[in-house]
């Protein structure tokens, strides 16, 4: 029977010839991950259940990335729980401050995710790894505790929702614009419980970093996972990086989908999600009268080297608006090094941006840029819910690094064209 890439991955993992949407399977996990918010609760459950050993210390990743470097005494205590658990159980992939990164940027960079993998993470943006052709989904702390002990996860095989992007991406249109536009079309539960499969010529032309951004935000449409079938771009990314070869699958031409949506990208404009839902999208150009206080560029959604380079492309030789605070959150230590080596970091700092160590920080209102009452932020992060980045009256506008950088210069929501036409300051 014809199968989608998601069904093929799950069937192989479960040791079955094929699976059907709705079927419940138990699948071994290739990687289970958690962070400093979700792991402490999981560790407490693990110990309360009387489990003594993790199933495989090499297949667990613990990444203290949310409130690190620790923002207060309580969060330091939470991070300490991870550190001590990692030592006790000889967890191979524990990443300490100074060697770490934002989990969903770090783990692919470190070669820990491969095509055909089944990955669960106690973080909703675990869906990011679908960009390498894995099945990867977010779970809670108890599911993670179970995976650490058992090495398996129960899953209901999702229906697949196929998105076919035709046409050539216009200049300054990125994976972020594609995924925001898509969520705007289908709504924040438009792909509830489903696997979002991204395909078409615009995806074939999209960089790995752009694909990570798209799969990262599948959860914002309610999806269980996002996936892009591996191709030459994937192979080039994984070469010399992936620690396991993985298994490459592709959907059969006659596979069954719950729904297929064709999207022509040729006329797509820089897209922004207005408060307070990622589906509340509008063209950036239509929001130019929206004055802003802060810009955040980075996160698990847009904290990769290409994202920072895109921001620097706009900000180089220009200045951040006097009324705006620009905060850069690189995804990993390696992203920092690469951004330092190619001049990206210098351009962003010279423009007036604050360059942070890797952390989730302000994305979830943690630290490093929390918003005050009625403040407004353009952010390359993934959620703009009420109170997400700070005070309940603050507002978050989600955008691409290009739009975020242009907005930082303009002092209001802006497209790259709006600021580039004004030339450079120096």
């Amino acid at each position: 029977m014809a199968q989608t890439i998601t069904e093929k991955i799950l069937a192989r993992a479960a040791g079955l010839d094929e699976v059907q949407p709705g079927q419940i399977i138990e699948a071994p996990v290739d990687l289970a991950l958690a962070n400093d918010i979700t792991a402490p609760m999981a560790i407490a459950e693990f110990e309360k259940a009387g489990f003594e050993h993790v199933f495989d210390p090499a297949k667990i990743a613990l990444v203290p990335d949310h409130f690190t470097p620790n923002k207060d005494v309580k969060s330091a205590g939470q991070a300490k729980i991870l550190r001590e658990f990692a030592r006790k159980h000889a967890v191979v992939n524990y990443f300490e401050v100074g060697r770490m990164g934002i989990e969903h940027v770090l783990l692919p960079e470190q070669g820990l995710v491969s095509p055909g993998d089944v990955i669960v993470g106690a973080d909703s943006h675990t869906c990011t790894y679908g960009a390498v052709g894995a099945f990867s989904t977010g779970v809670g702390s108890t599911d993670f505790a179970a995976a650490m002990a058992w090495g398996k996860v129960w899953l209901r095989v999702p229906e697949s929702f196929r998105f076919v992007y035709s046409g050539t991406l216009p200049k300054y249109i990125t994976g972020k614009d594609l995924v925001l536009h898509t969520i705007g079309l289908i709504g924040v539960d438009g792909a509830l419980y489903q696997a979002m499969e991204f395909a078409g010529e615009a995806i074939a032309a999209l960089s790995m970093d752009g694909r990570f951004t798209m799969c990262n935000m599948a959860i914002e449409a309610g999806a269980k996972s996002g996936v892009v079938a591996p191709d030459a771009t994937t192979a080039a990314y994984l070469a010399g990086r992936a620690r396991r070869p993985g298994v490459v699958f592709a959907s059969d031409a006659d596979a069954a989908y719950a729904r297929t949506l064709e999207i022509d990208v040729a006329e797509l404009q820089p897209t922004v999600a207005k408060p307070h839902l990622p589906a509340n999208t509008a063209p950036a150009a239509a929001l130019a009268d929206t004055a802003i206080d802060q810009v955040v560029i980075g996160s698990c959604t847009n904290g990769r080297l290409e994202d920072l380079r895109q921001a620097a492309e706009i900000l180089r030789g220009r200045r951040v608006h006097p009324n705006v605070r620009l905060i850069i959150l690189p995804g990993t230590q390696q992203v920092c090094l690469d951004a330092a080596a190619d001049g990206t970091m210098q351009a962003l700092i010279e423009a007036g941006g604050a360059f942070s160590t890797p952390t989730c920080g302000p994305c979830l209102g943690g630290h490093m840029g929390v918003l005050a009452a009625r403040e407004r932020c353009v952010s390359t992060t993934n959620r703009n819910f009420v109170g997400r980045m700070g005070d309940v009256t603050s507002e978050v506008y989600l955008a691409s690094p290009y739009v975020a950088a242009a907005s930082a210069i303009a002092g209001h929501i802006a497209t790259p064209e709006m600021v580039l036409s004004k030339g450079r300051a120096r």
């Binding site: 918010i37 106690a122 809670g140 179970a146 924040v188 009420v386 109170g387």
Partner: protein
């Protein structure tokens, strides 16, 4: 199990950031989390809620973050059950795993108003609106999830699996 309580009504897309804001995620303590439940959508909720009360919401309840702190906070606030038109998938799993009863019942969710009395029969799969004298059939859980619930959650199930396979210890 039969749960009866007063309805607290919410709309669609109630996200986990308003159920338990991230500024309180520097702890895993249930009572502390419960004290801030729903704070960013209804500052009076914690003061108003009585033990056994029922949250009723429209579509996509619990969307956003995977934080299990969300069902933990709801349970710790004294809420006995959440009835919604639909749930976001990670919240759905987390609720089952942490023993927070949830019921998918779009008709009951649409009809119930704040202050109504609801009686939820989990075994029979019914939601009765005592105030309005109406009865609704809830969407049944798939058999596997019923087994998880019957065993007391995911971890007792896993412990039994490990014992069977002899892999434990």
């Amino acid at each position: 199990m039969i749960l009866e309580g007063t309805v607290h009504k919410f709309g669609r897309d109630v996200d986990t950031d308003v159920i338990i804001p991230a500024r309180y995620l520097n702890t895993s303590d249930a009572a502390e989390l419960g004290a801030h439940c729903m704070e960013d959508i209804d500052t009076e909720f914690v003061r108003r809620v009585q033990l056994g009360d029922i949250i009723v919401a429209a579509e996509n309840f619990g969307c956003g973050s995977s934080r299990e702190h969300a069902p933990v906070a709801i349970k710790a606030a004294g809420v006995s059950c959440v009835v919604a038109a639909s749930f976001a998938r990670i919240f759905y799993r987390n609720a089952i795993n942490t023993g927070l009863p949830i019921v998918v019942c779009p008709q009951a969710a649409a009809a119930a108003q704040a202050g109504d009395r609801l009686r939820v029969d989990l075994a029979a799969g019914t939601v009765e609106n005592v105030t309005r004298g109406t009865m609704y059939a809830a969407e049944p859980f798939p058999p596997f999830m019923q087994e998880l619930i019957a065993r007391g959650g995911l971890l007792p199930y896993v412990a039994a699996q490990l014992k069977e396979s002899g892999a434990r210890g």
